[in-house]
Symmetry: C2
Subunit: 188 residues, 2 copies
DNA sequence: TGAGCCATGTAAACGGTTACATGATTCC
DNA sequence: GGAATCATGTAACCGTTTACATGGCTCA
């Protein structure tokens, strides 16, 4: 057994995607973009080194899988890789969900603006939120990785509904705020 | 006018808090913890260097304001500091709101668990979400900075309601999911 | 008198993004 | 033929967090 390895969320994302049927680093990233990307973004510059690290510690195996002249690596979960994934899923320790919202930081300080500009700000943010929310709904989960379509796999869809719900909740809330501010403007 | 300065969200947070009446770096951080912290977290190790940087570029002024033997710095917005804040608030360019949720990443891969463990996971996440949501509701905004209580200042409260809404939306959603999973378990 | 808060800073480590470099395959 | 996509990797940079260091004030 290899030396101790420090497993981070990105490690589990990689292990999990392999379990769902992704083979190459490129495929993992593509699947992540279409699914986990909205609540755990990543990049190829993270995925490739992470795969190498996981292989060094025996959690995945790599074999060459060229496609014509183009080289390609295919990875597979080992038993200890799957065990690590399960242990994480069962572990009671969690990092809290965190938000980083530049738009809301702006809105927080919006009192510095004259009222008509406040309204314009809220309108812009609402339009943006709406656009980003609908962008999330596009993209077919099943096309991301074969495993997403199998019968025993339901949580990817469930979690996507959660993410969509969050974004549309924000968009709706901004819409309501806009309506209220417009109402007040009219009263002046 | 000083050389070009690259203003980041943290810069505007600092400028905005100064505008709302915070004076010292410590006070800015404290106010942030009680307000913007849930959607733009920061630390003292960011605030102090940022204040120095803003002063170097003439967006804030610093004067010593000792309290007994304990040294303290009091900062104030300059005209160009206030102008920079307003320009940011009016600017059409925004960075999208982003989410980073380790709990949801777990849930995404929960199909790897046997059904009873799936339910246990959802229960744990729901309890956590509930605890974090109620933690947000505590803490009096007005005690954070004097400016939060003034009549022309309404957006800090509005944005807090948005944040609370998001977290409780997630908690409710998890509660619903838990109920559905329990229903299915009973059917087996 | 001791715990907790007020107050200011620096240094190192960490996680993540962007840019760079390279080349094959597929599809219009 | 050219654009988009598949595919793999490295290097540099950037923003943020954690740990370290120091010391006065307040209140029970």
């Amino acid at each position: 057994m290899a030396a101790a390895i420090n497993l981070k969320p990105i490690s589990y994302m990689v292990l999990g995607m392999l379990r769902l049927g992704a083979k190459s680093g490129y495929a993992i990233k593509k699947a992540a973009d279409m699914s986990t990307g909205s609540f755990w973004p990543t990049s190829l510059a993270q995925v490739y080194p992470e795969l190498a690290r996981l292989e060094q510690h025996g959690l995945v195996t790599r074999h060459e899988d060229p496609h014509g002249e183009r080289k390609r690596a295919a990875y597979e979960l080992t038993e200890s890789g799957e065990a690590a994934l399960l242990a994480w899923l069962r572990s009671p320790r969690t990092t809290p969900t965190q938000l980083r919202s530049e738009p809301m930081l702006r809105l927080f300080f919006a009192d510095a603006l004259p009222e008509e500009d406040q309204l314009a700000l809220v309108q812009r943010l609402r339009e943006r939120a709406h656009r980003e929310g609908s962008h999330l709904q596009e993209g077919d989960l099943k096309s991301a990785v074969g495993g997403f379509g199998e019968p025993g796999v339901r949580f990817p869809l469930i979690v996507r509904l959660w993410a969509e719900g969050l974004f549309s909740h924000s968009a709706d809330w901004l819409g309501q705020l806009e309506a209220e501010l417009e109402g007040n403007e009219g009263d002046d």
